[in-house]
Amino acid sequence: MLTLTCPCCGVAAEETELAPGGEAHLKRFGPGASDEDFETYMFARKNPKGVHFERWRHAYGCGKWFLAARCTATLEVFGTYPAQTTEPPADLIARIKTRRPDWEGCK
């Protein structure tokens, strides 16, 4: 039963107030994209056992989507950040590296 702090309104919300939304930072491919790129966008998932970036919506709160960095093996939350970005913020990356020295970074 997770708790995540919504970066948009600051509430430390519990899981039942949130809606999960799958892997973060997917790049959308539309018309003109190759079958491979489109398949990757739609289906290929990192699904790592370890550091993971994912989407959540503060559905029962401010209604905003946000992103979270979380360990799927321990459920440790490294941080949350706004959804309006294409990559995790540098300070979050640094924090994850101190917590998980073996982590290979965003691939």
Partner: protein, 415 residues
């Protein structure tokens, strides 16, 4: 192999059962096998068994990180059914169900397959239409199912509240030959038979890498040393993506926690399996007397084998509404497993971008019922290098082509 029978038990009783042999051997890894199967769960062991039985391939190792049968095989709600809507699903699940019917005799190990009947309740007009559609499909697929009315549902399950008021039971999709089996025994029975064929079951042997050359698999590295192989089959529900990454490709899979729970044991009160998909609950009574209850899946990636509590509440609420007597029973134990969820919630039995490497995964919440059929089809895929008719539609390429096998259209959830 010493055969199991009532006479054998009687003979052993006289000498305090000192004469029983090991059910399966505990060998050291060999340097090379024709086929290495990663994952000694039901699917992996069944794959090995049918490789030996159907194709005579016996130089096989089944490599297991923990203890055999310790993944989802040993932590599911043991439901067996084949009343699926789409042809490919119906075919493989019905193959599995029919193999289950004779599995105890085939393996000489009582897996306690109990075809006690299975009901999927129709509680909205929409659901009723979906199940009727399934019945027609099943008739053409050669699967015996029928739509039964509320009165018959009530007769089959006297403890059910069919009147609602919220979601009155309008009838049910009934598969009389569906039921349950003893989950551990399925893994143990296959393991014993594989071991007897000379296959090596390597427990406590974790795969740490997949070796390949020129696009062909060469072997694996494990916590018990490197092992070469001619062919590699990855059958590790829950950890499919982790193994796929070692093999150098990505799967349309996310690992999520699925929960189940049991009540304290009570005397028999429900002789069939009941699934109520509108309210997301399903329940059967085990031979020990526990009410075995399946819960919902979390919506986020999770490898901890622990789920989120609210799903237990949701399930229990729904079941009390349908089975009011449940309210005064007690939950004895809850647990979780990690399931592979694919892009269309149907399984994958497929060749992979790596030559001679095959994958069997993505069974989601419905893997146990498929074990014999899955093993049968996977053995064919591994032995021949191309899928037979049972596996043909379950290839990875379907995601690129947009050719999905979507079961949720009729039933909402698949278990």
């Amino acid at each position: 192999m010493r055969r199991y029978s009532v006479f054998a038990v009687a003979r052993e009783a006289l000498r305090f059962h000192q004469g029983w042999a090991r059910a399966w051997a505990n060998p050291e890894p060999k340097k090379r096998y024709d086929v290495v199967i990663v994952g000694a769960g039901g699917h992996g062991l069944a794959t090995a068994y049918y490789l030996g039985k159907n194709y005579g391939i016996r130089n096989v190792a089944i490599v297991e990180k923990g203890w055999l049968g310790g993944g989802n095989t040993g932590r599911n709600t043991t439901i067996i059914r084949s009343n699926y809507l789409q042809d490919p699903s119906a075919a493989i699940y019905e193959k599995a169900r029919s193999l289950y019917e004779g599995l105890s005799q085939d393996l000489n190990y009582n897996v306690m397959f109990s075809p006690r009947g299975l009901l999927m309740l129709g509680q909205t007009e929409h659901e009723v239409r979906g199940y009727k559609r399934t019945v027609w499909a099943n008739n053409l697929q050669g699967i015996e199912t029928e739509w039964i009315d509320t009165a018959r549902v009530q007769k089959l399950v006297p403890i059910m509240n069919t009147l609602g008021p919220r979601y009155p039971v309008l009838g049910a999709l009934y598969q009389a030959r569906g039921g349950t089996a003893r989950h551990d025994a399925v893994a143990w029975g296959y393991a014993r038979a594989c071991s007897d064929m000379g296959m090596d079951i390597l427990q406590n042997c974790e795969v740490t890498g997949v070796r390949s050359a020129a696009g062909q698999v060469q072997g694996i590295d494990t916590s018990r040393g490197p092992i070469d192989c001619g062919k590699l089959a990855i059958v590790v529900a829950g950890h499919s993506s982790v193994l796929a990454e070692m093999a150098g490709f990505r799967l349309p899979i996310e690992s999520m926690a699925l929960q189940a729970l049991v009540s304290e044991p009570i005397k028999p009160c429900m002789d069939v399996v009941v699934m109520a998909n509108t309210v997301h609950g399903y329940m059967s009574q085990s031979d020990k007397g526990e009410m075995v209850i399946g819960g919902g899946t979390d919506g986020f990636n999770n490898y901890t084998q622990r789920g989120s509590w609210q799903h237990v509440e949701e399930t229990v609420r729904a079941l009390i509404e349908t089975f009011p007597m449940l309210s005064r029973l007690k939950m004895m134990r809850q647990w979780g497993g990690i399931v592979d969820m694919t892009g269309d919630r149907s399984p994958i039995l497929s060749t992979t971008p790596l030559g001679n490497c095959f994958v069997n995964c993505g069974w989601g919440t419905g893997g146990f019922k498929a074990i014999p059929g899955s093993g049968w089809a996977m053995a064919e895929l591994v032995a021949k290098g191309t899928p037979g008719p049972l596996a043909a539609e379950f290839g990875l390429n379907r995601f690129k082509e947009g050719r999905f096998i979507d079961e949720s259209v009729a039933a909402g959830v698949a278990h």
